[in-house]
Symmetry: C2
Subunit: 106 residues, 2 copies
DNA sequence: CTTTTATTTTAGTTGACACTTACGTAAGTA
DNA sequence: TACTTACGTAAGTGTCAACTAAAATAAAAG
């Protein structure tokens, strides 16, 4: 889980994620967007993002297409919500306790 | 904004945030939870978290009390939702389709 | 004013990570 | 087959962030 946050924390990787936010892109096209950075460097970042579960890879001929993996971000969102507002969390916990009580009555 | 993500990415800082998740703690108490780490090190991490807007500092006598700052996490949550929410993605795609139609009419 | 307590700040060291260059690989093409 | 395209992987290097130790600061107590 921390792996995903660390992947997100790199400025280059963050830019990559913004690029493929709406539609998949090839590794070459992604690297082409960067000035002053070699293609292997971008490839390594793509590897980090993939290992972190934030993107998926699809092979198309000699190209590799990368796209966002919503599941990865969903998990991060859940994680952040736990920090979001502790008071709300307490209320939610209480509500769920109530819910369970009701279920057990059946 | 990236600053907050980078702050969150450090394992030590992540632990600190979990500690003060429910209630404020003094710098000393926080540092006391860590084995194999000096107090200055923890203090530096607290500084990073504060600069990133994730925690707030309150002075009480010679102690400094730290607590979570929900606003900081709220912004992060919004950021992630932009990557995650499929409904937003669909809306954007539809908007671009419209945009293309308009262009072709010229 | 001096001492104590709690903590930050400064200075300096070291390990991890982001690069580059060079090489390897897999799929398409002549 | 040999060549080209589009990549990833390996090895080496420099930079930066996390740490420690020592000094500075700030508030309370004596």
């Amino acid at each position: 889980m921390l792996e995903a946050i660390q992947a997100l924390a790199g400025p280059t990787r963050f830019s990559i994620l913004r690029m493929i936010r709406w539609e998949e892109m090839s590794a070459g096209d992604i690297a082409g967007q960067f000035k002053n950075m070699t293609r292997p460097a971008v490839s390594q970042h793509l590897g980090v993002l993939r290992k972190a579960g934030l993107i998926t890879e699809r092979r198309a001929g000699t190209s590799r297409m990368y796209s966002l993996r919503p599941e990865g971000f969903a998990q991060l969102k859940i994680l952040l919500e736990d920090f979001w507002d502790p008071r709300l969390m307490k209320l939610k916990a209480a509500a769920e306790k109530e819910e369970n009580k009701r279920r057990r009555k059946k």
